[in-house]
């Protein structure tokens, strides 16, 4: 289980990147993982079709919060269209820890919130 809570996950959990909110964001969206009550909000500022600024806030387990933190680093400055292609597997690969089926939703909550806010896609990202 030390595997699941590797240094980088704990680092992102305890010192998350891009944590906070944006005043008057272009896009803001919040959702919860009903299973365990994890809550994540993502604020975006868009300029020239790119993510000019991204902030997340919320509370929940280490997996959900670390995953959201990693997600913000991944997409900051990226083209919105490119971000649309980001898959569940991309996030799981990025986390690089063994996520059990019970915890997959924790890991994907950030991506779900981002896609719902940016593209109106409210389904859970599919895993193969």
């Amino acid at each position: 289980m030390a595997d699941l809570y590797r240094e980088n996950i704990l680092e992102h959990y305890q010192n998350p990147s891009n944590f906070g909110t944006i005043d008057a964001p272009d896009i803001t969206y919040e959702d919860t993982n009903p299973l365990c009550g994890d809550r994540i909000r993502i604020d975006l500022r868009i300029a020239d079709g790119k993510i000019a600024e991204i902030k997340f806030s919320g509370r929940g387990c280490a997996i959900s919060q670390a995953s959201a933190s990693i997600l913000t680093e991944l997409v900051d400055g990226e083209d919105l269209d490119a971000v649309r292609e980001l898959s569940a597997q991309d996030i799981l690969d990025e986390l690089a820890i063994p996520i059990s089926p019970a915890r997959v939703k924790c890991a994907l909550l950030g991506l779900k919130v981002l896609k719902a806010g940016a593209y109106g896609i409210t389904d859970w990202p599919e895993t193969e």
């Binding site: 289980m1 809570y5 365990c36 929940g60 280490a62 997996i63 924790c106």
Partner: protein, 420 residues
């Protein structure tokens, strides 16, 4: 069946463990410490064999056949009901209705008794300790008839505010008090007999959620004078898919059926139907006979150990666990300290989310639950989003507790020190 109420010998949990085949397996490569019996208990070989032997030797539909097998099946079903009646000291076995689980039993009461007896302006009293299954059915019926719901709060220790209950009852509009006998989250044992007496004085009936009490302590429906009582087989070493609703006879007889169709009728005409007597009136369709046989064997199994011994064993383990967990830095424990606490320990640790706690414990072979325990109003009342919960039963030992404590220390070594 012997009906022991006194412990006659010291509790041999190793002998009990030997009856439960699943406890011999490993989890994540470690010894399994199963500490989630409040969610569902494991099953002894005796129960597994009884279900197996029903299907191998006695299976046929009940009531309808005149052939030998159907008679046999009907007789077993009937005997199972008798065993359950003895378990809770029901005056008559026909007052024990077989249902799927506690949830279905409460839905039956809320819909059948509720629809007939509740009207606009009436009050339904619930408590802050309730499981969703003793909240939502009442909310739905309250909306339909225009009744109001009030909640009895808890004090800081997690005990019911009996002063509030008295106040609510004094309004004169309370028709039903629906309360748990043991909280699945805090372990609080509520003073059910006192609640029943207060409610009756105010002209209200009492519906008891006994999902967490019947498996762990002697429950006597006549002594408690409770009007309805619900419990599940799967939390008392019996099978999933069967539960029991006990009700007072006059109430059950005056109630309309909950579900309708086969088995629950006396006569069906083209334009109307008359209902069967108790208990069939409330058992529409083919019942789960094998599971009824299973829950009866489970009841006998527990009675043979004796509920006084079971309770004593759980108190010992709970105190052993509380004593050690209390020493762990960052630990917050919930629930009352004292006689009125069952074998349930809910906790949170600073800096570690309950789901992370449960994942780390899982890695050490320790099965606990993390989440809202189907008690979201209680979570909000406690001002937490979730807790981790360990719950103890007859097959748990101090070794399970030691494994839990050492796994919780691992949580702190992963999260605790870094949080500073």
């Amino acid at each position: 069946m012997t009906h022991q109420t006194q412990s006659q010998h010291t509790f041999d949990s190793e002998r009990v463990r030997a009856d439960f085949p699943i406890l011999g397996r490993t989890a994540r490569g470690k010894r399994l410490a199963y500490l989630d019996s409040a969610a569902s208990t494991q099953k002894p070989q005796q129960v597994i064999d009884a279900i197996n032997s029903f299907y191998s030797e006695s299976n046929a539909n009940v009531h309808r056949g005149v052939y030998e097998l159907s008679e046999r099946s009907t007789e077993l079903y009937d005997q199972a009901r008798g065993t359950i009646a003895r378990l809770i000291n029901a005056p008559d076995k026909r007052q024990c209705i077989f249902v799927r689980n506690t949830t279905e039993a409460i839905n039956l009461v809320a819909n059948s008794w509720g629809r007939e007896n509740l009207k606009a302006g009436d009050t339904i009293v619930l408590t802050m300790l309730e499981h969703h299954s003793n909240i939502v059915p009442w909310q739905v019926i309250a909306q339909q008839v225009g009744a109001k719901i009030e909640y009895v709060d808890i004090d800081d220790a997690g005990r019911l505010r009996m002063d509030q209950l008295r106040e609510l009852l004094a309004s004169g509009s309370v028709k039903v008090v629906a309360t748990t006998q043991v909280s699945n989250t805090l372990g609080t044992i509520t003073p059910l007999k006192e609640i029943t007496s207060l409610a009756h004085d105010a002209g209200a009936i009492v519906v008891a959620d006994a999902a967490q009490s019947v498996p762990h302590m002697q429950v006597d429906v006549q002594d408690l004078d409770v009007d309805f009582l619900a419990f599940s087989g799967h939390k008392m070493v019996g099978p999933m898919g069967i539960g029991v609703l006990y009700g007072k006879r006059d109430l059950l007889e005056a109630m309309p059926p909950y579900q309708t169709g086969g088995s629950m009728i006396r006569e069906v005409h083209l334009d109307h139907t008359t209902w069967a007597d108790l208990p069939e009136k409330f058992e529409a369709g083919t019942p789960s006979v094998a599971d009824a046989v299973g829950i009866a064997v489970a009841a006998d199994y527990l009675s043979e150990i004796g509920f006084a011994s079971i309770r004593e064993h759980e108190i010992t383990l709970t105190n052993y666990a509380l004593g050690q967990l209390r020493e762990i830095p960052g630990m917050t424990l919930f629930g009352p300290d004292g006689e009125d606490r069952a074998g349930v320990v809910s906790f949170v640790i600073d800096g570690a989310h309950p789901h992370d706690i449960a994942s780390i414990l899982d890695g050490e072979g320790v099965a606990v639950r993390a989440g809202h325990h189907c008690a979201q109003p209680l979570m909000r009342r406690l001002d937490v989003t979730a807790t981790a919960r360990a719950s103890f039963y007859i097959y748990n030992t101090e070794e399970d507790v030691d494994q839990l404590v050492s796994a919780v220390e691992t949580v702190n070594s992963i999260f605790g020190r870094r949080a500073s």
